[in-house]
Symmetry: C2
Subunit: 246 residues, 2 copies
DNA sequence: GAGTGGTCTAGACCACGAC
DNA sequence: TCGTGGTCTAGACCACTCT
């Protein structure tokens, strides 16, 4: 394999191949999330390449978010995104006031059902496979602010379906990792505008047809598979998001 | 100066100082937007450093968006953002249908006035300085879709205040560069939701109090100075924005 | 073919963090 | 004090672009 990495292949750099090889070692679990990987010098020696080449390979994985480097300490496998908080799209009362920033979380319902066509495609499942669907309400103090519908594929998240939702953590992604071994690595969020229906409005303590922001998220694990679909609704007038170009 | 770059200064790498030095040459106009800069080897020789060190310095400026590298051709000073189109926040009819994607632009009004406190701060002007304020309507076909209020500081944009707005281009940023020598390098956009007032609604052919997206933009030149404040309003139901985390 | 940036090597020394 | 990543050097050769 090492020999393979050293042969010249047009259109593919050596450090590119090294990055893929090291990525595999992470996906295979040889290097686990949160752990250190061998030192640059050790990697260079074991792969039989120069230090600079290993550094370029590591740089790719760092840019990819798979690795993190800490001067004097070592190179670590990323633990995955924590909250990837939906709160970043909003500005609710109390958040900026330096008050308690931790939103509470309440599971309203939890049920198993057959996957829709969209879900079958997103999760690359077979037709008729099962998913777990959750309804969750997030609140700041006594004010409900976000209403979420969360769908995860079922063989993978079986541990969650079995357990009591009262024992769940407020942050789902770290819990996915602990209970199901799923590390959330990336998310894609699509934002649009809509209006609340009657039941949604009631849960958010707003009027029916109140304007809301709709966040449709796909969350991906380290292998790049989509492992969660989430729909979040919040008061449009609390929406605040900033972005910069270039 | 070159000697200065070679002395060891704790807390500042040599390539960092080189990057600042080269950035200055761009800001001073020695290397103009769109032009090639000297080859890596020439730079390394003239600064008296190794090739790898120059490459690290260039990498910083590339990451910063000031330079662009093209294999086999050379390293170029960025021309600046073109449209930085507000359309990226929306999904209007006709845009996805593969029809004409170029929105038309019409200046509704143009006037000079004293800067507000907010504008004085943003533009770092003296109190009572003058600004140019424009109202602009962007349309797709016959459908008005975005209403903009644009404010620029006046000594700098004097050429614009003098000329007839009928002769203006649809894209403002390239025109800023041609007529006023201002290159837009970065933008900060802040998104929120609001409702249209009567006159805004009339111009967008929507009902008063219709929900709208509010985009508040600050645009910066290559030196990092804020040189434009822009407020854009569009139909909330046409809002569509995607982002990814990690 | 000449000139550019891209890849790679094999060293050296520095700065940071933990023991 | 030791091991880590960060900086820097002085070369070599490859791949792309233009003429």
């Amino acid at each position: 394999m090492t020999a393979q990495l050293l042969t010249h292949t047009p259109g593919q750099s050596r450090y590119g191949k090294l990055a893929l090889a090291m990525r595999d070692r992470i996906l295979q679990g040889e290097w686990a999330p949160g752990e250190v990987i061998p030192a640059e010098s050790a990697l260079a020696q074991s792969y039989g390449v120069a230090l600079g080449t290993i550094r370029q390979a590591l740089a790719l994985l760092v840019e990819d978010g798979v690795l993190q480097r800490r001067h004097g300490r070592g190179t670590f496998v990323t633990k995955g995104v924590d909250g990837a908080s939906m709160m970043r799209f909003f500005r609710f009362r109390g958040v900026d006031d330096g008050q308690s920033e931790a939103p509470e979380s309440r599971i309203l319902s939890s049920r198993m059902r057959s996957a829709s066509t969209q879900e079958v495609n997103a999760f690359t499942m077979v037709k008729g496979a099962q998913v777990l669907q959750l309804e969750r309400l997030r609140s700041l103090g006594n004010d409900p602010c976000l209403l979420e519908t969360i769908v995860v594929p079922l063989p993978l998240f079986g541990k969650l379906a079995e357990s009591d939702s009262d024992s769940w953590d407020d942050l789902l992604y770290p819990m996915y990792q602990q209970r199901c071994g799923v590390v959330i690595q990336k998310t894609h969020d699509s934002l649009s505008f809509s209006q609340l229906n009657a039941t949604q409005a009631k849960r958010l303590k707003l009027a029916p047809a109140h304007p809301c922001v709709l966040v449709e998220r796909q969350a991906f694990d380290m292998a790049g598979r989509c492992v969660e679909l989430r729909t979040t609704r919040g008061d449009a007038f609390s929406f605040k998001y900033t972005t910069q170009l270039q």
